[in-house]
Amino acid sequence: MKEYKGLMVFAEQREGRIHPISYELLGKGKEIADRLGVELSSVLLGHQMEEEAKELIYYGADKVFLYDHPAFKDFDLLNYKHNIARLVREVKPEIFLFGATRLGRSLGPRVAVALDTGLTADCTGLDLDEDGNLIQIRPAFTGNILAHIKTATRPQMSTIRYKVMQKKVRDANRRGEIIKKDAELVPSLLTIKKKEKLGGVNIAEADVIVSGGRGLKKAEDFGILAALAELLGGVVGSSRPLVDDGWIGKEHQVGFSGNTVKPKLYVACGISGSPQHLAGMRDSDVIIAINSDPSAPIFKLADYGIVGDLYEVVPRLTNEIKGRRAG
């Protein structure tokens, strides 16, 4: 076990762009590496991504192992696994982190088994015990409990939930080493026949939902909510009456006979909060209610409420967030 030292994170890329989860892993990874007094490295498989590799350094990596090959342009499960496992055997990091994206959760288990080590899924927290062992914290039983898990084998391997860890501020003056590695290719066995971008709303999986109700005066005014939703990387939702009136598609409907949602942030605009609606969104992490009627039942469920006209409040909210982000 002693020969294992340092922390390594998998830098995920899609279409030659680094996935933001990678920077979050580096952010958390740096904190843990500093506490252990060890080096933080990252592995990136792609094609012609040297510039991007530097970004990993700017976000905290001391070393980047770069595999440059046309075969790595797209996700190639068996070749990714083969080369990462080889690198881990060579470098022997004590901790190895994947992002818990679908790619990470597909690749991570293969690497773990190839290395005959444990893997903890979808962690939302990482810590160290007094002996420097990794404590992997993950929700279990639909989030009702938090399990603290330790790994007896090395490396200690986990996949980390997206949008939970904080990335560091980008520092373009940061120095680090990019180490080019030679790829060793194995038969890939899987062929990507076609790629496409998925459109459409998937409200059930959205992190942010900005919903409108009877407080909206006409269908076009969903645009006001869409602006805020877009800014927060979310989608637009609706209470049932507006769907019934044909103002917006059923796929946007939140409620007992629509979608049950639990986003990180639910912004209810001009929604009074009928039981039918509340049944579909009461488990949201944070609820903001905007309604001109102080007696609206939605306020009982809200973490933050604004008593006011959504036509005044929502645009200002959008502008203010924009302003603060720019500042």
Binding site: L103, R105, P109, A152, F299
Partner: protein, 268 residues
């Protein structure tokens, strides 16, 4: 004629099960046990392939003797054979040991062409066992399959990775894990259910796998990870902070509050 294997897990009804906060474990008596719902999608995917092309479906599970009822349910829904792996030696397994044990049992079954797993289980929620079985068996896998496009000499599946959709082709043998979107599992007919209640489920113990597997890799002994502590987060009440008055102040106040709670940070 494809030979399809569907590994399943018996789980407590997650919508009803309670957590015993004092004992720090799940109170299994609080809810009935049933097939993991994602595994029903896997089984349905298998049955749809079988309906079209013929073949056999073997379902396999590792668990306590009571897990026999889950396998019988699988038989009523279209599986042809069922194998239950029961042994104290298997107990306390993490995903590494579980996948090793299941992979060993699948080897013992003889040849197979396609393994179909659910995307994850509702209790463990790791989604790791499927891909790990594939690695143990040295076959390719595609996770998060939302559609089986074509099955013939090769298999073509649709795989959704967040915003990207891939059409992927593979030869056999291979493994897929399927998402909920792939189908709506059928209900069993009552007569199939009656038949399945009387059907025989094959029981294999650790000894039955000894010729092809290393027993030291089963159960808690073969596990790399262990739960050391369980914390029950206290349920936070809604903050219920209501702003009223001048709009600019309200908006400023609410964003201050969001920033203080670091709510906007995790959102991109």
């Amino acid at each position: 004629m494809l030979k399809i294997v569907v590994p399943i897990k018996q789980v407590p009804d997650i919508g009803r099960v309670k957590f015993d906060t004092e004992k720090g474990r799940v109170d299994r008596t609080s809810a009935p046990a049933e097939i993991n719902p994602f595994d029903l999608n896997a089984l349905e995917a298998a049955v749809q392939i079988k309906d079209k092309l013929g073949g056999t479906i073997t379902t396999i599970s590792m668990g306590p003797p009571q897990a026999e009822s889950a396998l019988k349910d699988a038989l009523s829904r279209g599986a042809d054979e069922a194998v239950l792996l029961v042994d104290r030696e298997f107990a306390g397994a993490d995903t590494l040991a579980t996948s090793y044990t299941l992979a060993s049992a699948i080897r013992k079954l003889g040849g197979f062409d396609l393994i179909i797993c659910g995307e994850k289980t509702v209790d463990g929620d790791t989604g790791q066992v499927g891909p790990e079985i594939a690695e143990h068996l040295g076959i390719p896998h595609v996770a998060y399959v939302s559609k089986v496009e074509e099955v013939g000499e090769k298999i073509t599946v649709v795989c959704d990775m967040e915003g990207d959709r891939y059409l992927i082709e593979s030869g056999f043998p291979m493994l897929i894990t399927v998402s909920k979107d792939i189908n709506t599992p059928r209900l069993p007919t009552f007569s199939d259910k009656l038949k399945a209640r009387k059907a025989k489920v094959e029981i294999w113990t650790a000894a039955d796998l000894s010729s092809i597997a290393d027993q030291a890799r089963f159960g808690s002994q073969g596990s790399a990870t262990a739960v050391r502590k369980v914390v029950v987060p206290s349920e936070e009440a809604r903050k219920g902070k209501i702003f009223r008055g001048i709009v600019d102040e309200e908006v400023g106040g609410i964003i201050d509050a969001l920033e203080e709670g670091r709510i906007l940070e995790g959102i991109k």
